[in-house]
């Protein structure tokens, strides 16, 4: 997974880059908030970003606000990493749309654990999005069987949109993944037997 690091302090960027590489993440470094915003706008995959707060052009909190406002469905995990350590800043940062907030200088073990939380959240969101897409596909099939169906009271054929009358099973098979196996229910079995018997007797009568 690629991680975006946005920090105008080259020392912070160097330490972060090295640490993330040790943990097998790819790293892209930008030095200001505008570049971070451009990168995030073009991201097509789930993205984890570590953003400094105080940066030229756009600050990290504003980058978070723009992502949440203009890309509300984007699968992005945003971490603010800053030396602004007041409670008010933590609250403001999280309310701006950051998923996590860390104070500089970071503890490497804590950062690793938090980055892995981010990766887990992104992975879960991606799986959830896939399931939603599958469900939407299934729902589209189900919708084809919705609505008022014109059915013949005598032969039970259904009239399709093309005005042709179809057997119930053909109609349903054409509009869903359902398949039919043919059998006979007990009631119809008795009726059929009676009809066959009656037909047999009638034939015997004619033969005589």
């Amino acid at each position: 997974m690629e991680v975006l690091v946005a920090d105008d302090d080259r020392i912070a960027a160097a330490i972060l880059t090295q640490a993330l590489a040790r943990w097998n993440f790819g790293v892209t470094v930008v030095e200001d908030g505008a570049a971070a915003w451009r990168y995030l706008q073009g991201a097509s995959k789930p993205t984890l970003a570590i953003l400094d707060w105080v940066m030229p052009e756009l600050d990290g909190a504003e980058v978070c606000r723009r992502v949440r406002r203009e890309m509300p469905l984007a699968n992005m995990y945003l971490m603010l990493l800053t030396s602004l350590e007041s409670r008010a800043h933590v609250i403001e940062g999280l309310e701006a749309g950051a998923d996590d907030y860390l104070i500089k200088p970071f503890d490497p073990d804590e950062l690793r654990a938090r980055v892995h939380v981010g990766r887990r959240v992104l992975s879960l969101q991606e799986k959830l999005a896939e399931r939603v897409a599958e469900l939407q596909g299934a729902l589209a099939n189900v919708k084809q069987l919705h609505g008022l169906l014109p059915i013949c009271s005598y032969c039970k054929r259904i009239r399709g949109d093309d005005q042709y009358w179809q057997q119930v099973e053909a109609y349903i098979s054409d509009r869903s993944d359902a398949q039919f196996s043919h059998g006979i229910c007990p009631t119809c079995y008795i009726k059929a037997e009676q009809e066959i018997d009656a037909h047999g007797k009638s034939s015997q009568f004619k033969d005589q």
Partner: protein, 117 residues
Amino acid sequence: MTIDDPRPPFDLEAFDRQTGGDRELGLEVARMFLEDCPVHMEAIRAAVQGGDAAGLRATAHALRGAAAFVTAVFVVEAAAHLEALAREGRLNEAAAGVERLDAAVAQVTPALRQLEP
């Protein structure tokens, strides 16, 4: 001005931990700090002389962040003090703050130079 504090100006153990025990990275970071620090100090002095509170706040903040990564605790504290003075508009006290910062930088610089093999 000297800083009368029993704590060391630079914590090698914490620095090693910060750089993941990577000696090469540690050296690179120390070199970057030694290069960048005079630039930040120059900008801080210019901001104080020019009465530029926003500029002082930004440069003191940048130096504080960099110093935190090299575990230069006195530089961090002196830069944070200047940042607070700028935030509160108390620039008349900033000259003393710059002196304190100068002393802190003078203390940590030799320790960082000693990292060179």
